[in-house]
Symmetry: C2
Subunit: 342 residues, 2 copies
């Protein structure tokens, strides 16, 4: 470009001698345009480094070709400690969007605040993906409002019978069950559970549910003394384990509701001189990258984030296009490593 202004389709029309309408058609590969015309127009467009003005075309077509990712985070975490599981999801969502020709807006939010979720209302995005929504009960009110407004959105998280929204989640129940069965097979009898297992955190709740039923099937009962609330951070896992040790109850295994909790708990045990897995077998959930680098490497449940990202985006696009969507539950896979093998 020699001038400071960006070229428009009118410039190309002038240069090629066609009307602006024909230029527009040629650029969009409309079949209404002759091969020859298309060629000429596209050639000039290339020379000028012309790009269609998305604001104009979006305004005209009434869709933006963009999705928004609302990423909720714990207010206490700092920049450098974004939950690695969500990082992995972010990667797969970004890729899934790119493959489908959509751009991705991202926004970090505090789950407690009012969300900045007007990307759809302001037409910046055609739909929204929610990741890590915090307290489910609080979330539900907000979700209902979004549904009322006709906002298209999908959530990563537990799939529940009465949910107001569309979600994609992994099979948390089976994951919890698989972990507990594995620990039982290792000969563990007193399996602690670290994580808040209430309807406020339905993923953890379902994992706990699977764990509880596996224990029941083995003729064991769930001892409330062996459960400590924790949210998904190392710090919280460390604190939960410390609290558990201070209770002076016996346990031979720990099922942490997430890998971060497990890693924090292992650090706390290390500080108290407990050996993993000799004294206590440990398992987590998520299979974040650091699980395999933990000492010892951590047994965990893998969620297929690549598949998850694809399905989230596909489901959102279905919603946007008014097609039926089915809520999806993805299979999980138990990954056994040293932390739980005696």
């Amino acid at each position: 470009m020699t001038t400071g202004k960006k070229p428009t389709s009118i410039d190309i029309a002038y240069l090629t001698g066609f009307s602006q309408a024909t230029v527009s058609r040629a650029l969009r590969n409309s079949p209404l345009v002759s091969e020859e015309t298309r060629r000429k127009v596209q050639e000039v467009a290339r020379q000028l480094n012309y790009k269609v003005d998305k604001n104009a075309s979006n305004l005209r077509t009434q869709h933006s070709g963009t999705l928004a990712l609302l990423f909720f985070e714990d207010p206490t975490t700092d920049d450098s400690h974004i939950n690695p599981f969500f990082v992995s999801m972010l990667g797969s969502i970004t890729r899934a969007c790119a493959q489908r020709g959509y751009d991705l807006l991202i926004s970090f939010q505090q789950a407690s605040d009012d969300w900045h979720a007007d990307y759809a209302d302001s037409k910046k995005a055609d739909g929204i993906i929610l990741l890590g929504y915090g307290d489910y009960v609080t979330y539900c009110d907000k979700a209902r409002k979004l549904v009322e407004q006709g906002t298209h959105f999908v959530r990563w998280g537990a799939v529940l019978p009465d949910q107001p929204d569309t979600s994609v989640g992994c099979d948390n129940y089976s994951g919890g069950r698989a972990v507990a069965e594995h620990l039982l097979e290792q000969g563990c009898k007193r399996i602690a559970f670290l994580g808040e297992a209430t309807r406020h955190y339905p993923e953890f709740f379902e994992r706990h549910h699977g764990y509880a039923e596996a224990l029941a099937d083995a003729g064991l009962k769930v001892d409330p003394e062996l459960q400590v609330d924790a949210e998904s951070t190392q710090e919280s896992g460390h604190a939960a384990m410390t609290a558990l040790l201070d209770r002076n109850v016996q346990f031979d295994a720990v099922f942490a509701a997430s890998d971060l909790i497990a890693i924090g708990a292992m650090r706390a045990m290390d500080e108290r001189g407990l050996r993993v897995p000799e004294d206590v077998a440990v398992a987590g959930f998520d299979d974040v990258p650091s699980a395999s680098f933990a000492h010892p490497p951590l047994t965990t449940v893998r969620q297929d984030t690549k598949e998850a990202g694809s399905i989230l985006v596909d489901n959102l696009l279905h919603l946007i296009h008014g097609d039926p969507v089915q809520t999806s539950i993805l299979p999980i896979k138990l990954v056994v490593r040293k932390s739980s093998v005696r």
Copy 2:
């Protein structure tokens, strides 16, 4: 909303009895509008859940209130292994954008491909931030093209005398120097360097430069036998250390050009029965979250990602507004942990 259509400023004009122009002014808090009018208009807007159509306002005002983050990654990495240093940068850039009222588009790119950098040309973004551009020499050609086109962009990376673009980087030279001086203080004499130190990777090159001058000042010479190329992944660090060990040269310390390289190298040493720091002192660069959780915890150089994100965004906004920008070099901080202390 009872109808399926989103409300427009015309709907509000109709409901309030004002003209559409006045509605627009009232919504934008123009001082030209009376307090009373503003109140009425904004009240109706709230009731309708009206949001200004960004496509229309962006088209009219000719800017988008959006920045784009091009995130280059090694083609070999998978979703779950995004470089944690860049994750930290992503967090701080996202926050910096939000604070300044900008939205952020993100896009993952292969450094080798032609970039999808037309966010600015298509008016989807006012400017672009580049993170992890791969080979600097290859990058320069592309950067020059962007500059020619008048695209506003900033790069995170080395600040070099002849660079075509605007960048923000940390003081890699001082960082390398600080690490080497620290290792020398620990009594190390044969300090290996892991990382490709050429003009293709100027950050590593500068770190190596600081290291080399510190050695020279101590009367030691840089032994090429003690340098192995590596890119910033654990796998590459593992391979580089393996190659170094296969050379059968003596060394008592390793300066890895990044933490990921260091962590991979420590794993390789562990496999060969070498103890850190007793047999070999180790230091990395970046202070990624896993550096403090490594075994042993890793001595490294911290870059202030929070500050970096702010400055990147500020510099880009200056560029966009036509204000002068100065290329910024951020101070670094040596973080000494067990891996290097004997």
